[in-house]
Subunit: 147 residues, 8 copies
C-alpha cells in the first residue's frame, strides 16, 4: 500500500522539502500532495476568469479555485501534516485541520512549543504533535513500514 500524505500550512520555510527528502532517503511508500505553495500563483488563481474590482471577490474567486485542488487532495489523503509557523495568521492551516477532523483523517501537527496554547483545540484532535520535520519522517516511517 502506498500512503498519501497531504502537507498543509506554512509556505515560508522548507519543511515540506525536508519531509519529502527524509522519506525518500528511507524509500518510504509515501506520496505527497499539497496546495499550490507559490504565494503569487495562489493569490491569482482566479484571475483567468476575469478581473475583480474588490479585493474580497478577487480573494474569494482564487480561494474557490484553490479549494477544487485542496479539498479533493484532503479527501484523498491517508494522513495530513499541518504546519503552523510563528508568523502570520495561517487560518487556512487551522481550517484544513478542522476539515481533517470532521472527515476522520488522521493528522499530525508540526509547530514550536511557544504556540501550544492557541493551538490546543487543533492539537487535541491531532494524532501527534511534532516540533521538527525529522520527527514527522520518523512517524511516517513507523506508520507506513512498521519499522
Amino acid at each position: 500500500m502506498k500512503w498519501t500524505v497531504y502537507l498543509s500550512g506554512e509556505i515560508h520555510t522548507d519543511w515540506r522539502q525536508q519531509i519529502i527528502d527524509g522519506c525518500q532517503a528511507s524509500k518510504l511508500p509515501v506520496l505527497f500532495t499539497s496546495a499550490v505553495t507559490d504565494h503569487e500563483a495562489s493569490d491569482s488563481a482566479g484571475d483567468v476568469l476575469g478581473e475583480e474590482q474588490s479585493n474580497f471577490w478577487r480573494d474569494h474567486k482564487s480561494a474557490k479555485v484553490n479549494a477544487i485542488r485542496t479539498r479533493t487532495l484532503i479527501r484523498n489523503c491517508d494522513v495530513a501534516v499541518v504546519r503552523f509557523g510563528t508568523k502570520y495568521k495561517q487560518w487556512n492551516a487551522a481550517f484544513d485541520a478542522g476539515i481533517c477532523a470532521a472527515l476522520d483523517k488522521p493528522y499530525i501537527t508540526l509547530h514550536d512549543e511557544d504556540i501550544v496554547h492557541p493551538l490546543k483545540e487543533v492539537d487535541a484532535s491531532a494524532m501527534a504533535w511534532a516540533t521538527a520535520p525529522g520527527q514527522v519522517v520518523e512517524l511516517l516511517k513507523y506508520v507506513t513500514t512498521a519499522k
Copy 2:
C-alpha cells in the same frame, strides 16, 4: 421550526450578546449555543481529572473536555456564526469553520475588512461574510422568518 445557531470564535467583545439581543428583539425562532466562553473555566476544564506537569498535556486535556461540548453542539446546529477579532491567533475559530465546511453546515463569518486576505479560504466556504453583529441579525431574521 426552531433554528439552532452556534456562535464560534472571539470571546473578548460582546458580539454574541449583540446577536442574541437583536434576535430576541425580533422574537426570532432561534436558539443559540456556544463553547464555554469563560476563558479561565475553559483553560481549566480538565483539571478535575488531575493536575498536569506540562502545559501541553494540561491544554490537551482541557481542549478534549471542551470538544465534548463543542463538537456535539456544532453537529446539532443548523447555522454557525464564526467571529474573528483583530487580536490573537483564534485558530480554534478557523478550526470550527473547517469542521462546519466538512459537515456541510452553513456558516457566516463575522470580521473586519482588514483581515479579508488571511481569511480567504475560510470565507470562500462560508455562506456570507458580515462585518457587524447587526448584519448577522438581519440575515438570521431573513433566513428563519422569510421576512
Copy 3:
C-alpha cells in the same frame, strides 16, 4: 408523525397555496416549508451585507444567503414537491431536485405534459409526476394517512 413537505420551484402561480389549502381541508399531518418566494426579497437577500457593482456578485451573495435557508429546509424535509411552470428557466427547481436525488429525499414533480421531454432526467428520479396541485394533495393524503 408530522410530515414536512418542502415546496420548490415556480413562484408565479398559487400552486403552493392550493396544496396547503387542500391539505388543511383534510387536516393532514403535514408541515410545509419553502424558499423565500417574494422575488424582490430573494434577489436582495444579500444587500444588507453591502452593495455590489457587478450583477454576478450581487446574485451570488443573495443566492448564498438564500441557500442557508433552502439547503437546511431540504435536508430537514421528508418529501419535496418540485414545480416547473411553462415560463422561465427555473434552473433552481431542477437544481433542488438534483439535491433531493443525491440526498435520497423522495420528491414529486408538478408540471404540464408539454415539458415531459426536457424534464425526463428530473422525472426519472422522482417518485411521482403530477399535473395538478389537487393530485399532489391526494398523494400526500394517501402517503401520510394511509387513506
Copy 4:
C-alpha cells in the same frame, strides 16, 4: 494522481472537444467522462427493453438507463464542468449540478453572462464560473498540475 472530470450539459456545440483538446495539448493528467451525447441514442436508450405507447414512459425508461451511466460517472469524478447554452431548457444540467452540490463534488459552470441571473443558485454552489472553454482548461491545468 489522475483527475477525472465529468462534462455535463449542452450537447449542441463542441465545448467538450475544446476542453479535451486543450487539456491534451498541455498533457494534463486528466480523464474525461460524460453522458451519452448522441441525442438520438440517448432518447432511445430504453427502446431495447420494449416499445412504449406513451412518450412519458419512453422518456422515463431511457432516462433511467442513462442514469445508470451518469450517476455512476458523477459519483466517480473529481471535478465536474456543467455547461449551459443559450437555448433549450437544459434542466438535466442543473439537475447534475444539484447532485454534485449534495455529493460535495466541486463543479465549474460554463455559460454566457446573459444567463447569470437564472443560474444564480447553481453558480452560488459552484467553485468557479467560466465563459469560455479555454478558461476551463486553464483552471484544470492549475488545479491538477499546480502551474
Copy 5:
C-alpha cells in the same frame, strides 16, 4: 424514549394487530408504523395520477407512491419486524429487510420453521427470528423497558 417499530410484510393475517395489542397491554413505549396494508388501496395508489394501459406501469406508479411512505418510515424507525407468511412471493418483505440491513436498522423476522432455508440470508442479517407475535411482544418489552 419512544421506540418506533416498523411492521413489514404479510398482510393476510392479523399479526400486526396481535403485536400492537400485546404492546399496548403492557403499555410499552412503542409507536408502530407500516406500509398501507389495504391491498386494493396499495395497488391503486398511483391511479390518481392518470390511468395506465400496461400493468407494469400501473404497478410501477403505485409502487413508487407507496415507496414515498415506506422508505421514509423505514428510515425513521428504530426497529423493524419483517413477517413472511407461508403463501405468496412476498418479495417486498425481503426487499424491506435488505434496506434495513444496508441502513443498519435492526430487524426481527417472524416466520414459521418450514421456510427457514429460503430465508437464511434474510435471517442471517436479522437480530432475532420469532415464530409467533407473542415472542415479538416479549422482545420489544425487554428491549424497550429492560424488563
Copy 6:
C-alpha cells in the same frame, strides 16, 4: 474505466453465462462478480467451523460466511443485475435488491412478465427491467461504451 457488475439471484439457469458471453463477444469493459452459485457449496459454507444440530443454525452460519463475500462484492460493484426465476422463493435476490436500493447502487431486474405484480416494489427502485439476458447485454454495452 472498468465497470464491475454484480450478478444476483437465480442459480438454476445459465443467465449469468449468457450475459458474460454476450459482454465478452462485444469486448465490453466489464468485470463480473457473483455469490457462490454452487448450491451445495453455498449451503455448507459454514461447515468447516463445526457441525450443527439444528438446520437453522447451520443455515445461519453458512449464510453469514456467504455474506462476507456477497456484501463486499455488492458494495464494490457499479451495477447489479438481479434475476428472478419462476420457481422457488428467491428471497435472497429481493434482499440483495433492497441492499442495492439503500446503498444507491443502480440495479437491473431480469424476470418474466408474469411476475411483474409481486415484484413491483423491487422493480420500482430498479433502473431497468429486462426479460432476456440479451437485453441486459445491450444495456451494459450502451451504459459502459456509450454505443
Copy 7:
C-alpha cells in the same frame, strides 16, 4: 438541550447510580441510557425464542437481542461513559468504545490507574479518562451547563 448519556460497561458496582445521583443533585439536563444491567436477564434475553443446546448459540441469540437495545441507544446518545472494572474481561465495554470511536461519539473512560496500559488504545480515542464517578459528574456538569 437535553443531553443523552449512555453508560456502558461494568455491572458489579454502583458507578451508574453514583453518576445518576450526582447529576440529579445538580439538576443537570441529562438523560441516562444503558444496556440491561441485570446479568441474569441479559444472559437469557433470547430464551423466549426457544431453547438452545449449545452455549455458543444461546449466548449468540441473547447478545443479538441485547444489541437491538444497545446499538440503538449508542446511536442516539450524545456522550458515552465506558467503565472498566478490575475484574472480568469486559470485552463488551471495549467493543462499545470501538463503536463510539467509529461513529464519532465522544466517550469518557472510567477506570483505575493500574489498567492504564492495556486500555491505552481505548483511552487514546476517548475524550477524557476519569478514575471516579464524581469526576464524571463534574465533566457532565461542565459540558452540559458551561459551569
Copy 8:
C-alpha cells in the same frame, strides 16, 4: 479482485503467520495488513516526539501514533480477523472489533471455546467464529475464490 484482510489482536502466538502461510500455499488473492506487532516498538511509538514523565501520557502518545496506522488499515480492509488469546486483557482487539462493527466491515473472530461467554457481544456482530487458523484459511479461500 484482491482482498485485503486486517489481522487484529493477540501478538504472542504465530496465528498470523499460520494464516498467511495457509493462504499463500493456496495462492489466494489476499493481502494482509496488521498493526505493528512488535510489543516494544508499539509501546515506544511516540517516544520520538519527546519523553514523558507519566505512563498515561506515554501510552497515550504511542497509542495515537499506532492509531494512524491501525485506523487507516481497518478502514481500507475488506475483512478483518480478530484474535483473542487466553491471556491478557486484549481490550484493543475488542475495540478493533467495535470499529469494524460500526463501519460495517465483516470480521471473523478466532478464539477458544472457553471464552465464548465474555465474547458474546463481539461474536454476535461477527460473521464467523473460528477456533483454529486453518479454519480461517478455509473461510478466506471460500470467500475469495468461491471454491
